[in-house]
Every structure is written in C-alpha cells, then in structure tokens.
Amino acid sequence: MSVVVEGLTKTYGRRHALDGLSFTAGTGVTGLLGPNGAGKTTLIRLLATVLAPDRGTMRLLGRDPATERQAIRRRLGYVPQEPGYHRGFTVFEFVDYVAILKEMADRRTRHDEVRRVIDEVGLADVSGRRIRALSGGMRRRIGIAQALLGDPELVLLDEPTAGLDSEQRLRFRDLIARAGEGRTVILSTHQIEDVAALCAKVVVLKDGGSVFEGTPKELRGLAEGRTWVGGRKEGPLCRHTGEGVFRTLGDPPPGARPAEPTVEDGYLLLLHEAAPAATR
C-alpha cells in the first residue's frame, strides 16, 4: 500500500480537524468524500507533508514522513485546494519554476520534462501565454501539470474540479484517470459523480474520522433496497428530482416504488446515519 494512515489526529485550537483517522490507499484513484469541515483538506495537507500530525502514524510510499520527508517529496505531486500561480508568468515559466523547486537543476532535461507535462494536460498550444490570460479550467490544468513533474508515484489532488463547468469536469476526469494509471492518486472532492466514474476506492470522512472505506459499488450498496421514488415529499432524506417526483432514502413512503440506488444515495444515507440523532 502506498498510503497507510493510522490513528491520525490534528487539532486547531479546540477543534479536531482529524480525530483518529485510519485508512489505506494503493495504486489507482482513491476518492475522499465528506461534507465541508470533515477534514479532507487537512488530511491532504498531512499527506503532502506540509503539516505534521499531532498524533498517529503515516507511511507514505513505504517511508515515514517524520524522518524521511524529503525522500517522500521527491516522489510526490500535489495540487492544493487553491493553487496559486504567478499570474505574470507564462504557463511554461510557472511549470518550469515548480520544476526547479522539485530539484530539477539541469536546464535542458528540466525543459524537456516541462514540455512533456504541459503536453500531457493539453496545454501545449498555450504554453507561451501568460497565466492571467487563461480560463479557470486551463489554470486548473496547470495545477495538474506541475503535479505530474518527475512522474511522481503519489499524486494528491484537493478538489481539482471545483468551480469547473460540466464539460471541463469531464475533460478533467480523463486527465485524472490517466494520472491514476500506475500510480496512487488521492482525490479529495465534493463531486460524487467524479468518485463514481474514477475511483477504485472511496473513503468517506465525517467530523475528522472515517465512516466508510470501500468501493463506490459498496457505497452505492448501502442504499440498496432503501431508495424510493414517489410523488410526495416525505422524511428528512427526500429530494426533488423532477416535476412532481421525489426521491426518498430510508423507509419507504406510502405509494412510493423502489428505485435503483446511486453512489450519491449511498453517500447521503451514510452521512445521515452517521450523524448524531439530535442533528438528523
């Protein structure tokens, strides 16, 4: 396993961002799902060795980040939640700048690698354009390009599709799927469709802990026989899905018929049942 996390705890003041979290991830794309404040970004930053945990252990690529941080960083690609760019730089200049931070000192070899990753994310045509002149989707692709420098074995993506339109998100799925071939990708996201389409494994976080670890199919299975479609709004887990059509999770409302569950149904049901009774 490329990522092994046990009993991870991180506290900010009195708030537990992570509270005894454990999970593992291997080759392929592993999705991190969870509501806002569940601890996804804190976890990604810990895995990126940007933060140190208060308690717990991590093994990343077989190494301990407490003692072998540099060795891990040499095999790591990271796209933060809000990747910043030197907006006056061209695409090439920015990726080249990150390549230097990744210790690629030889100019010719480094430039070849920069061209390779820019080409891989489909930005070769705008390589010489200033970042300030690019769309949000293109900037997100620059984020992926810099993360792929040096062909890292572990890639961490913190909400890479946030703020993208549907078409751009579909393109990103291709990109992330390709990035997940032969390496470990940890994808933190709110987009359940992305997890369903991309991930071999999914970890659901809530209040700093893991409430589910399995495949998207298993997550969907949680709503098997508990998903209903009817004409009436009934219960707390009922949502409007069309004109006069309501989708209900849990106990069947009167007159409703069973429906095929989705990964989102399983996720919503899981979060609802993991919540303290008083907040349901």
Partner: protein, 266 residues
C-alpha cells in the same frame, strides 16, 4: 515557379552541401512546393530533424529572464537559483527602484543634511530590506507557496536566499543615497547593523507568523525605539556604540536560531 528540385539537389541540400545562396533559394521554393518537400523528406535524417525541432522548441519556450535575473547570471549565480530569486516581487527592478526613490524623497523631505535628515535616513534605511524580505516569501507574497512547501527544495533555503538577495539589493541604493546626500561619514553606514538585526529578527519570527506581518511588527518596533530616543531633539543614540552592540547581539542570536532551523529542515 520555373524549376523543381531533382534527386541530386535534394540530397545535397539535406546533407548541407549547398552554398548559402542556393540553399536560400531552395528554402524559398520549398515553402511553396509540396512535391519538392515530399522529395526532400526521406532524405533528411530523423534524428537531425528531432534535434532541430528540440532546439526550436527550446528557443521558443525558454523563459525570458528579467533584468535582476540577468544580473544574477552575470555575477555567476546558477540559472535555476536565479529563477527562484527572480520570482520574488521585492527582487524586481520596480520594487528596488521604488524603495530607493521612497528613501531618497523621505530624506530630502526631512531636511537633507540637517541632523533630523540624518536621523530620518538612518531610521528609514533599515526598513527597506525588512519590507523587501517581508514580501519576498510566504503565503501572502508567493502565489505558489503551498506547492513549494510540498516540494523537495528546502523552503528555508529559498527564504534565506531571497533574504540575502534583498539585503544586497536594498543596501546598495541606500548606501549610494547616504553618500550622495550626507557625504563621506561613518554615520552613512550606521544603519547596516540595525538592518541586519531587524531582517534576521523578522526571519526568525516568520517561523510562526506571516513574513509580511513580521516585517510590519519589527518595523513598528524599530520606529518606536527611534522615536523614543528622539523626543526632544535629534539624537543618534540608537546608532552609537551601544545601539550597534545591541543590533549585533540581536543579529547573532537570530542567525543562530535561523541556522538551527535550516539544519533541522535539511
């Protein structure tokens, strides 16, 4: 079009055996003639084409260094180090010249060669490097800061290299302004140790706080100290032997703490 290439001409062109005039003529013709291009293509070695293409891509893509980066390269700084330094906003020509001009105008406004003018100069000059260091590194100053934190290149090293470069680039104009306005006097250089002390203290504090905030706090503290010794009449007490010794002590302790931090990070 009055002619086309034959096999012999194509082979000689591909081998580079044509004189410059004939080669230019062939190239002008090739631009407009698809059959001749097809004739030439199999005669050009693939490896040579790849090499030429790589050289073109390198020439087109390579970042164009700014004036500061070029100056660094001229004095022997390696290309990738110059790139890392040149990315800091306070190491751009606009910042360096703006800082120097602000200092010059402040001194002129304070009465040039009067004692108040000298106190004003000595109080403001150390703040140039402190401000420069404050915006050279950190979450607020470097857009790629978070990405850099997860990269193997030591973040402390980037911070210290930029701080050293900022010190050098702000000290030079301040010394020139001092000499130009006040003439040759020990007092013109009396701000150097305080500048080192304030900058190193600011760097130490950046371990816990945003560097720009550290620079602001350290500058405010410095100005308060200078103002406190100049309540009635202009005084150079902060720049005398005792002041210099205090600055030296702060510098030494701060540098020791920074060295320990650098060692721990590496």
């Amino acid at each position: 079009m009055t002619w086309h290439m034959d096999d012999g001409l194509a082979t000689r062109y591909a081998d580079g055996d044509l004189d410059a005039t004939l080669a230019s003529s062939v190239e002008a013709h090739l631009l407009a003639c698809a059959p001749c291009r097809e004739l030439l293509t199999p005669r050009v070695p693939r490896a040579r084409l790849d090499r030429v293409w790589e050289e073109i891509a390198e020439a087109v893509d390579s970042p164009v260094p700014g004036p500061f980066e070029r100056a660094l390269r001229l004095v022997g700084v390696r290309e990738h180090t110059a790139r890392l330094l040149g990315a800091a906003s306070s190491l751009r020509l606009s910042w360096i010249s703006a800082g120097a001009l602000a200092l010059l105008f402040a001194v002129l406004a304070a009465g040039e060669t009067t004692r108040w003018g000298l106190v004003g100069f000595l109080a403001l000059a150390p703040m140039l490097p402190v401000a420069g260091v404050g915006v050279a590194y950190g979450r607020g100053a470097d857009p790629a800061y978070e990405i850099g934190l997860a990269a193997p290149y030591p973040a402390v090293k980037v911070m210290l290299m930029r701080a050293a470069a900022v010190l050098a680039t702000s000290a030079l104009p301040a010394l020139v302004i001092g000499l130009a306005v006040f003439g040759r006097s020990w007092a013109v250089a009396a701000w150097l140790l305080p500048a080192l002390a304030l900058t190193s203290l600011s760097l130490v504090l950046s371990r816990w706080f945003e560097p720009a905030h550290c620079a602001l706090a350290v500058s405010a503290l410095w100005l308060a100290c200078v103002a406190g010794t100049n309540l009635g009449e202009p005084s150079l007490a902060m720049f005398g032997a005792a002041g210099q010794l205090a600055s030296l002590a702060v510098t030494v302790v701060s540098c020791a703490l920074l060295a320990a931090r650098g060692k721990k990070a590496s």
